[in-house]
């Protein structure tokens, strides 16, 4: 970026100030006091270049360098405080000038012609944008020169809902309310169950009949209510475990989920 020494600016521009620095004065004498009026060395260089009153393409870089250095020296002589980037630019320009005055075969790379061209190109671009900004600001601006309608009626989009509900939902809702409103009575139903005590009694008495292995299902009451059978199966299983724990019976199961057999311990 700063290969040609021109991106030296470190001082931020006058941001946020709506009434920025006054336009640079044109009188020679006023130049001394207006160092703060420029936004960096490039800005000052452009202003000096424009004083040559020639197209920036035809600018004399050598003359420009002399003007800049003379300007900075005058400011120093007046003991004005000069921002570092202006001094760096002055040093760079002094180097450029000496290089330009050297015989061509002693020149280093990049050549002073290249550096001068880059400087000229940059000044041209900055100048072009400065002119463009001025032309832009001079246009007929909305709210300053031309005006929109003062009191527009405005265009409104009114969002309207089309509500949707079907017959079934309506009737179902009424059913829900009716159901909700019926008096709530909690009743515990009597269920046919076999208690653990009766299962233990039943299983041990049946085991007493034989010494053979019996399947657990053989202990269940036959032809009974299926719900009673479920309960009896659970109770009889727990009864079998209990009897085994008490050492009164032994259990055998051949495979996982296979029939469970038990017999009396002799």
């Amino acid at each position: 970026m700063s290969d040609d020494g021109l991106m030296l600016g470190t001082a931020p521009d006058a941001a946020g100030e709506w009434d920025g620095p006054a336009a640079a004065p044109t009188g020679e004498g006023a130049l001394y006091l207006e160092l703060d009026g420029w936004e960096g060395p490039l800005d000052l260089l452009l202003d000096l270049a424009r004083r040559q009153k020639v197209d920036l393409k035809a600018i004399s870089i050598l003359a420009l360098v002399d003007q800049y250095i003379a300007y900075i020296e005058r400011a120093e002589a007046l003991k004005l405080e000069i921002a570092a980037d202006y001094l760096v630019m002055a040093a760079w320009l002094a180097y450029l000038k000496s290089a330009m005055l050297l015989p061509k075969d002693e020149q280093e790379d990049p050549s002073p012609e290249e550096l001068a061209l880059r400087l000229q190109l940059r000044l041209e671009r900055l100048g072009a944008m400065r002119d463009a900004a001025a032309r832009l600001m001079a246009r007929d601006r909305l709210g300053r020169d031309v005006f929109p309608r003062g009191a527009p009626e405005g265009i409104r989009v009114i969002r309207k809902s089309r509500w949707d509900c079907d017959y079934f939902a309506l009737v179902q809702a009424y059913g829900t309310i009716q159901r909700r409103n019926e008096p709530v009575v909690h009743m515990v139903r009597e269920r046919p169950v076999m208690t653990l005590d009766s299962a233990i009694e039943r299983v041990s008495s049946m085991l007493g009949v034989t010494l053979n292995w019996l399947e657990l299902r053989d202990f269940l009451p036959r032809h009974s209510d299926p719900r009673l059978r479920k309960s009896a199966l659970a109770s009889s299983f727990v009864a079998a475990l209990e009897l085994a724990r008490l050492g009164k019976a032994e259990l055998r199961q051949e495979d996982v989920f296979g029939p469970l057999h038990l017999r009396r311990v002799a």
Partner: protein, 200 residues
Amino acid sequence: MSDDLTRAVEALLFAAEEPMSAEEIAAHLEGADVRAALDELQALYRPRGVVLVERGKRWQFQTAPDLAHLLRREREQARRLSRAATEVLAIIAYHEPVSRAEIESIRGVQTSAGTLDVLMEAGWVRPAGRREVPGRPVIYATTPDFLSHFGLTSRRDLPGIDELKAAGLLDKVDDAFEAAFARDDPTESAEEVASDGERP
């Protein structure tokens, strides 16, 4: 057409934030006589989409009355009625005319004002006077639009309690659950399933 004065009056009225009297307009134009310009502009704009009108000696541009509808564009959006609103609608349909307090006592929950608003916005419910009891509460009824939306000739077409029962819509939740559960278990006897359904 317009001379400079007419153009100036036109621009002033266009940019003005409030209607302007002829005197106010003239004050902006070095006291020129703007009467003729106003008449000219009024005639010029008469057939247009925008017209110049005088109200109480003040002048302003406004949209031509026949085009005012363009400025208020409606956009319809289908929305499903909430469960609460559906319930309120059903209560009004079955019990009309009915007050809000009555609706709430039937539903067993408070009903927000917005719910009734939605039903009135939908055009299905209307206020139908006041109940002559202390507090004179507003009572609500359904509208003809309600009948046509739900394909009913009259409110008598709504299914009665018995029909709701037959359709299973009044079944208690746990009864319905038992019935469904029993069906899944083929060992359960048919008698038992039937008797379950009748148990109180």
